[in-house]
């Protein structure tokens, strides 16, 4: 059976088993094992691609090119991480009698399901399938957001669902309009919605319809990616979702949505030239970075902080793509890669701290966590340095690449604003993280005495993720690098 | 470039000679001013040799030191004295060349005097008496305010003469012929004020006061006795003479010897004595016609001299 199909089946099956029930150990084993296998399959697929093959299934509805391959590997990796961390996460809650059977079912069922949806997005070559897959991620994440079933989580869930569905409606309209733009040039049936066909037919697409379609598609998928001003669901969702799910959203959903944006952008680029959708992306990206800035400066909650940081990062990537040019595109993809590697560390350490203090609000966490949770705090600082693009970590290089491209391009003013925002962002982050990590240890008389930090599977996952992220800054496996370059070829091929 | 050994020897012996001469004459100047002042107040005043008697007495006295003081207290007067004496080797007195001209010029001179002051002020803090600190603080304050005016005044002449080395300066003035330029007057006035301030004369400081609270220099050396005090007094006297000589060199070098011929030397000596004496009279008149200023009025005085110096510079070179 086809490699891609396997890659999709495994997480689906895992989800099914996880959702059904059974002893905890068994479920844990299934989830971790399944997602490990999935990751392996993703890597295998990528290898196959690098081997020169173009893995495809269902008449090119699923097709793996450079971009997809990169996405697959990243999604697989993040899926695995969130599975292992998730096991630890749930165990911690079990230990504190916080877990209901419903939660177990949802947790072990939804996380693999989510991974499945992400993978489906990443390998979809058919705009219709792509849309359906994205919708699936949305539906799955609603449960994860309302996982803890608190007032706030209901609120967050509702907002997410309404905004998300609206976005998807727009995305659908966009898809329809793109399809309409290709009247009679796309062929018949299922294949008519294939991205590859669009690329071939690009010159003969009807420009206005196409423009309209691109606009709606960008808004639609932009909502999922969390580009401003459609970003508003993100802080709420991230705060409410359990950290493992948070990672899936912050990396998986973000990458997936970015993937969709890229596909649309590429069609429009092929048909209308890079300027049209490029400028739109640049504008939205810049807006995102600018919007994220003040909220990071005056933030009151650790996870919301991370949410705004991911709004910032999707903005950075959008800017990178919008700037145009191979260097910038490469920078954006490199940024995506490094972000996918670094963000989990942030989520895991923050999640741990939040669990220890049974809240992610700064006032509850207090100051001087170094003294009571050295490992988590250390990782948090490390992660903060990484995601603020400090040297010598990877994001420094990717941001430098983008900035350089920006100053070399015609968009100097935009890039300068962008740079200024980055500076302020860094300061805000330093302030917030420093505020909780440093300082005197909170007084022992405090009644909300935090849990002690213990060395469990979640912690191990966090540490491993951190090591991977650090090493990757200096050394990326040649094959992964090849993938990034291949992806760059797709996004800004000389062809 | 560095003077060969024989020249070095010659230079140093010359230096010693000149230093000794100034050392010998300094007490005389001090007493002379005292006496003239007394006369202006219809008093008899001390005998002209009083300065020498005092020094002799002090040098013979038993040295008394505070038990809270450290070696810095001992070093203070010696460095102060040394600096004052060494400084004399940088200015020409009778011959149009400073003995240690090779060593440096005006900047070094000013620096050396600052060094002496630094040493004495530091030492003054060593005894733990409040007056020492008070004196040190005030002395450093006034010196700090005087410094820019002093240097600017000196720079004016130096720039005019195209040399920052006192000897070279004198020579170039001589060879261009002693001419008068209005800026000289301003510069001179400015520098004269500074000399008054630096030598602790009325209206800045009152060398004759016995009320500690109004003291500046005197307060600083209040804890010294015997030989130490002698060194301080003597050094101050030399410093004063040095300043007057500097004024002479800068503004009325006429008569200074350009060769080592005995006659020339003799003439130079006479000329120098007269000029210094005139300046001494000027100092006396200032002292007796002014009242001592409050400490916080001193800045105004000094800023006047700074203004004068700057004006001199301006009208000379613009």
């Amino acid at each position: 059976m086809n490699l891609l199909v396997w890659t999709l089946t495994v997480p689906l099956v895992t989800a099914a088993i996880g959702g059904l029930g059974g002893p905890r150990k068994f479920k844990e084993a299934v989830m971790v094992g399944g997602l490990l296998l999935t990751f392996a399959l993703c890597v295998a697929t990528a290898r196959a691609f690098l081997g020169g093959a173009v893995p495809a299934a269902f008449g090119d509805a699923l097709r793996v090119d450079g971009l997809s391959a990169l996405m697959l590997v990243l999604c697989g990796y993040v899926g695995l991480l969130s599975a292992t961390y998730g096991v630890g996460y749930l165990r911690r809650n079990e230990a504190r009698k916080l877990v209901t059977p419903r939660m177990r079912r949802e947790f072990y069922g939804l996380i693999p399901a989510y991974v499945f949806a992400m993978l489906l997005v990443s390998m979809s070559n058919n705009l219709g399938i792509m849309w359906i897959a994205v919708e699936l991620t949305t539906l799955a994440s609603v449960f994860l957001i309302t996982f803890h079933d608190k007032d706030t989580s209901l609120e967050a869930g509702w907002k997410f669902l309404v905004l998300g569905s609206l976005g998807l409606a727009f995305a659908l309209l966009g898809t329809v309009l793109l399809f309409a733009a290709g009247q009679g040039h796309l062929g018949e049936g299922m294949a008519a919605l294939n991205w590859t066909h669009f690329m071939q037919a690009a010159p003969s697409l009807h420009p206005f319809t196409l423009r309209l379609g691109v606009v709606f598609a960008l808004i639609g998928y932009g909502t999922k990616a969390g580009l401003a001003p459609m970003h508003t669901w993100k802080p709420d969702a991230y705060r409410e979702a359990p950290s493992p799910a948070g990672v899936l959203m912050a990396v998986g959903m973000l990458n997936g949505a970015l993937y969709c944006l890229l596909r649309i952008h590429l069609i429009s680029k092929a048909a209308l030239g890079p300027a049209f959708s490029g400028d739109l992306l640049l504008m939205l990206g810049l807006l995102s970075v600018l919007i994220a800035t003040p909220f990071i400066l005056v933030q009151w909650n650790l996870k919301r902080l991370l949410a705004y940081s991911s709004i910032e990062h999707v903005g950075i990537m959008a800017v990178g793509i919008g700037l145009g040019g191979e260097a910038a595109a490469f920078g954006a993809l490199l940024h995506m890669t490094y972000h996918s590697l670094a963000k989990p560390v942030a989520f895991f350490s923050a999640g741990t701290l939040a669990q220890l203090h049974s809240s992610s609000n700064f006032d509850r966490i207090g100051t001087g966590t170094f003294s009571r949770a050295p490992v988590a705090s250390g990782l948090l600082v490390l992660a903060a340095l990484m995601i603020t693009g400090s040297p010598p970590f990877g994001l420094f290089f990717s941001e430098m690449t983008i900035l350089k491209a920006g100053f070399f391009s015609a968009h100097v003013t935009a890039t300068s604003i962008f740079l200024a925002a980055l500076v302020v962002l860094f300061c805000g982050f330093a302030f917030q993280i420093g505020g909780i990590v440093l300082g005197p240890p909170r007084d022992p008389k405090d009644r909300r005495v935090p849990q002690p930090e213990q060395f469990d599977v979640a912690m191990v996952t966090a540490i491993v993720a951190a090591i991977v992220a650090i090493v990757s800054a200096f050394y990326l496996p040649a094959s992964l690098l090849a993938l990034i370059h291949a992806a760059t070829q797709v996004v800004w091929g000389s062809a | 470039m560095i003077p060969m050994i024989p020249d070095a020897l010659r230079a140093f012996s010359f230096a010693m000679l000149q230093a000794a001469g100034l050392l010998a004459l300094a007490p005389l100047l001090k007493t002379a001013i005292k006496k003239m002042k007394a006369r202006l107040q219809n008093r008899q005043g001390p005998p002209l040799l009083q300065g020498y008697y005092d020094l002799a007495k002090l040098l013979r006295k038993e040295p008394v030191r505070s038990e809270t003081a450290s070696w810095v207290f001992v070093a203070g007067p010696r460095v102060y004295f040394g600096a004052a004496v060494a400084a004399t080797t940088l200015v020409p007195v009778l011959v149009a060349a400073a003995p240690l001209e090779a060593a440096g010029g005006i900047l070094l001179l000013v620096g050396t005097l600052a060094l002496g002051r630094f040493a004495l002020a530091t030492a003054a803090l060593d005894t733990g008496s409040a007056f020492g600190g008070m004196g040190a603080s005030r002395d450093m304050t006034i010196a700090a305010l005087a410094e820019p005016a002093l240097l600017l005044g000196l720079f004016t002449s130096a720039l005019a003469a195209g040399s920052l080395n006192v000897g070279g300066l004198v020579r170039s003035v001589l060879q261009h012929g002693v001419t008068f330029h209005p800026s000289d007057l301003l510069a001179f006035a400015g520098l004269f004020i500074i000399v008054i301030a630096e030598t602790g004369r009325i209206p800045v400081d009152n060398p004759a006061t016995h009320l500690e609270l109004t003291m500046i220099h005197e307060a600083m050396v209040l804890e010294y006795a015997g030989p130490d005090l002698a060194l301080v007094e003597w050094a101050s006297a030399v410093k004063e003479l040095l300043y007057l000589t500097l004024l002479v060199d800068l503004f009325m070098p006429a008569g200074i010897a350009t060769s080592a011929a005995p006659v020339a030397i003799a003439v130079a000596l006479a000329a120098w004595a007269v000029k210094v004496f005139l300046l001494a009279i000027a100092v006396t008149l200032t002292e007796s016609t002014n009242a001592k200023l409050r400490l916080f009025r001193v800045p105004e005085l000094v800023s006047i001299s700074l203004g004068l110096a700057f004006l001199a510079l301006a009208i000379r070179f613009l």
């Binding site: 040297p391 500076v423 420093g434 | 560095i2 008496s129 600190g133 920052l164 030989p227």
Partner: protein, 677 residues
């Protein structure tokens, strides 16, 4: 030989990395960890210095590749120019002694649990500074620059339980980061113009012109000015220095500031083509301002390290003043003058590093010995800590610019530059030279007053607190470095020619300058390049001075009588520390005279029981107004936060608002698309 240099640079980096790794691994074994960290640091610095000296000797710069970031295709390259070699040498002269000192210092004042962190931070900081000096391309430079900032910030916040330390660290971090932002913008603008990333290509000048050029200049000036501590970008400095451990403070003053100066030299002065007149004037003006305000603020401080920090601002000002003179000279095409001024500036970089390093190390010993930074708590330390006292005195005299010590040398050169500038600059602009000269004179005199106060109040007379009364002398391992630096102060003071000879090649390598061999006069003397305007040979004078001092000693010792020790007269009362003159009192007259600058506020309350004329206790507190903090940075920060808070309404929690954003965006885009194909 030059190949060796390359090896040296790489070797140094490798040693650093290994050291850092080892330090972290050995975290558990505190002693070993400390020795490894500092030993490695010493080794690395030594290697760097040797490399630097080779370049100085060869007089040619050397380029090479350090590390190739395969992922982003970014290449980190190094290029040791004579200029960077000079700064590297300065760096090494301080870094090695400080490391030795820290062997003793850390053992005493760093919590064992933090040894690994501090040790590795120490190495990261030094390594990144080295990298800043040798960076051959923009990315390397920015990377090193940012790393340097982060490491230093972390070290400043070592005592992060103290609010002050956190605040200082954060203030420093933010200001430097804004600076870095400016640098990124500036460098990338140049890079875009040149199409290359190598500094040598970027800084060839002529890349940009007109407004762009001025804009870039401003960017760089801000970027480097922050690090250099030039007023008005100085506010972080007096906060960060006291907060950091003393050996780190020494590094910050002597090395970190120097990195900023390096930038000003490399880019602002000699990297953007022939400087504009306005640039030179800006530098001279702000330099003078920094010098005078720095020393004035230093005067009134009662916290020893804070005082030293302000005096660092003063010296940075003097350096920048010299540089400004050089730039102005270049603008008028006066090579000789430019060379002289640049020489003065570079010389002062070295001298300041030496004596300020010395002073901070001394301060470290004192703080360690007494456990406080407050001058008012010291007194009589010379008895308990004779050696520290002696070395500190040397440093104090050097920084006061007294002859025979190195401070005098660079001040002499600066004065020469200013005077020469006056006589060789056309028009009214020339008048700013004597003004600067006068201010410089005032500065050095005030510095003298300031350090009389520091030394006198802390080391002399009676102890003012029990802490001072039972202070203990620092161990030899901490004294030796001070001895070395003190010796350097004297050596450089007596043989300035040596330094100038070393500078000659450096100056020759700077565009628009000529070799400065005419400055040195033998190895003992200096002379002004034009005619026989002025020269100085401190050594000769030193002999005379020694002679005179000895003579004085003999003269005074002539009477054979034994010395009688008596208590100091306590005005009738019995003498105690409370009757001593305090640091505050010492600087009071100047505070009154310059009240326009200080805007002092004072409150005196006399607690009297019987009659107001006999208070049994008088409380006096006086503080000077932190002008820049209050009128520039405070409002700025508040403004930013206000805006940020205002933005919060965007995320007020109402789903309807969020939907409205989307509606608005859609409608806007639709209108923008219009219709009618």
């Amino acid at each position: 030989m030059l190949q060796l240099v390359g090896v040296g640079v790489q070797a140094a980096v490798v040693i650093r990395l290994v050291t850092i790794a080892a330090t972290l691994v050995l975290a558990r074994w505190v002693r070993t960890c400390r020795y490894v960290a500092l030993g490695g640091s010493i080794l690395a610095s030594a290697v760097t210095v040797s490399a630097a000296i080779q370049v100085l000797v060869a007089g040619r710069s050397l380029d090479g590749v350090l590390f190739r970031h395969a992922t982003s295709g970014i290449v980190l390259s190094y290029s040791v120019t004579p200029l960077s070699a000079w700064f590297l040498m300065v760096f090494g002269l301080i870094a090695v002694p400080v490391a030795v000192y820290s062997v003793g210092y850390f053992a005493h004042s760093i919590a064992p649990s933090r040894m690994a962190a501090v040790g590795s931070g120490f190495n990261v900081m030094l390594g990144s500074v080295e990298l800043v000096f040798v960076a051959g391309d923009v990315i390397t430079f920015l990377l090193a620059w940012e790393l340097m900032t982060l490491a230093t910030a972390a070290l400043v916040a070592t005592e992060h339980e103290e609010r002050a330390s956190r605040r200082a660290g954060y203030l420093y971090l933010v200001m430097s980061h804004v600076g870095t932002g400016c640098l990124v913008a500036g460098f990338l603008t140049l890079a875009a113009a040149s199409g290359s990333l190598s500094l040598s290509a970027l800084l060839a000048g002529h890349l940009v012109s007109g407004v762009t050029r001025d804009g870039v200049f401003v960017l760089f000036f801000v970027g480097f000015g922050v690090k250099a501590g030039v007023i008005p970008f100085h506010v972080w400095l007096p906060e960060a220095h006291p907060a950091a451990p003393s050996s780190i403070s020494a590094l910050m003053s002597a090395v970190l500031i120097t990195a900023g100066i390096y930038g000003l030299f490399r880019v602002c002065a000699f990297g953007l083509g022939i400087p504009a007149v306005s640039w030179g004037l800006t530098f001279m003006g702000l330099g003078t301002l920094s010098a005078i305000l720095g020393v004035l603020y230093a005067l009134t401080q009662s916290d020893l390290k804070r005082l030293l920090a302000y005096s660092t601002i003063e010296n940075a000002g003097i350096i920048v003043l010299g540089l400004g003179a050089a730039m102005l000279a270049l603008a008028y095409g006066r090579t000789e003058l430019a060379t002289l001024a640049a020489a003065a500036s570079l010389a002062h970089v070295l001298n300041h590093a030496v004596f300020k390093g010395l002073l901070f190390l001394g301060a470290g010993s004192v703080v360690m010995g007494t456990g406080t930074r407050q001058l008012e708590q010291y007194g009589g330390l010379l008895r308990r800590m004779p050696w520290t006292g002696l070395f500190f005195l040397v440093g104090a005299m050097a920084i006061a610019g007294l002859p025979l010590l190195n401070g005098f040398v660079s001040e002499w050169l600066t004065f020469q530059a200013l005077l020469l500038g006056f006589s060789s600059t056309p028009g009214f602009i020339r008048l700013n030279y004597p003004l600067s000269a006068a201010m410089l004179a005032l500065t050095s005199a005030l510095a003298a007053a300031c350090f009389v106060k520091v030394f006198g109040i802390s080391f002399l007379a009676l102890p003012r607190s029990t802490a001072a009364a039972d202070a203990h002398e620092a161990p030899p391992v901490m004294l030796a470095p001070q001895a070395l630096l003190a010796a350097l102060c004297i050596g450089l003071g007596l043989f300035p020619g040596v330094m100038l000879r070393a500078l000659s090649g450096v100056l020759a390598s700077l565009p628009g300058l000529q070799p400065a061999d005419r400055l040195g006069w033998g190895s003992a003397g200096m002379m002004s390049p034009v005619g026989s305007f002025d020269h100085v040979v401190p050594a000769i004078f030193g002999v005379a001075l020694m002679g005179a001092v000895v003579a004085a000693g003999v003269l005074a010792a002539r009477t054979g009588l034994a010395i009688r020790r008596v208590p100091t007269w306590g005005c009738g009362g019995e003498l105690s520390a409370r009757t001593e003159y305090t640091a505050t009192a010492f600087s009071k007259p100047l505070m009154m005279i310059f009240r326009a600058v200080y805007r002092p506020t004072r409150q005196v309350e006399a607690l009297a029981e019987v009659s107001p004329y006999f208070p049994h206790e008088v409380r006096y507190r006086s503080e000077i107004e932190p002008t820049f903090e209050r009128y520039v940075y405070g409002p700025l920060l508040r403004g930013v936060l206000r805006v940020a808070n205002g933005m919060k309404v965007l995320q007020a929690g109402s789903l309807h608002t969020y939907l409205a954003y989307v509606l608005a965006l859609v409608v806007l885009l639709l209108l923008w698309l219009g219709g009618t194909a």
